[in-house]
Subunit: 142 residues, 2 copies
């Protein structure tokens, strides 16, 4: 078994759906940081069969909406002085601002740098979001 | 500190130069396997200041020439029944077959699928290899 002892201070992203670990690692640009990070893939899990885990030995701000959009199974554990101080579940966000582009090539959000795309969730099962500007539906894909 | 307890069976690539861990992970296509793998980056190291580590919970064949080409600092630890059974140092290979392409666009190895490029090391400091077919020098880049 591959086990990782607790980190002293930082964030553990647990219960990541298998296959999403590296994608989240890349999205968070963790290959460019200077503090320790661990990516574990295909870790045996009681509840999920297998899971991915990311451990970040640093206090960074993570956008929970962003994580919820990418993978709503994730649990976020905040570690301080080697102890778990906070446990958060993420959820699929109802409103999203600026995390992806509108699929409508003629939407103003794809032309104007000052207009951030805003979306409202219309279907959680397909991660379909409606653009607040042009009303086009965009399905989010990691 | 991020520590990982020993694996039961498999391979540990230790002393990877910081920044190369993810590249080697990708080159070995470890995101596509179904057994546990751990990538550790920026791990504190007595000798190197910081290092990357990859732990693979499976007995896979790893091409030592390939690893030596990518990063000749790597040490390869083979683990069986939770114990270290073999420790290998990699080295920059003197002869290389098929691991990269010849930079000469007119070299036959870039046209003929049946001719694998073969190279001989001419400068270890720049990882310069001479093609056995066209004699062009190619500098290897990860």
């Amino acid at each position: 078994m591959l086990e990782v002892t607790s980190i002293q201070k930082g964030i553990v992203l647990d219960h990541i759906t298998v296959g999403n670990g590296l994608k989240i690692f890349n999205k968070l640009m963790l290959d460019q940081v200077d503090y320790p990070v661990v990516l574990l893939i295909n870790v045996p899990s009681k509840f999920m069969g297998k899971k991915d885990i990311i451990k970040i030995e640093n206090n960074i701000d993570i956008d929970l909406d962003f994580l919820g959009l990418i993978d709503h199974n994730i649990s976020v554990n905040i570690i301080e002085d080697g102890a778990l101080t906070q446990k958060k579940k993420v959820a699929i966000p109802n409103k999203v601002k600026g995390l992806f582009s509108c699929h409508n090539p003629r939407c103003i959000t794809n032309f104007d740098d000052y207009v951030k795309p805003k979306f409202e969730l219309v279907s959680p099962s397909t991660l379909s979001y409606q653009c607040e500007y042009c009303e086009e539906i965009t399905e989010y894909r990691l």
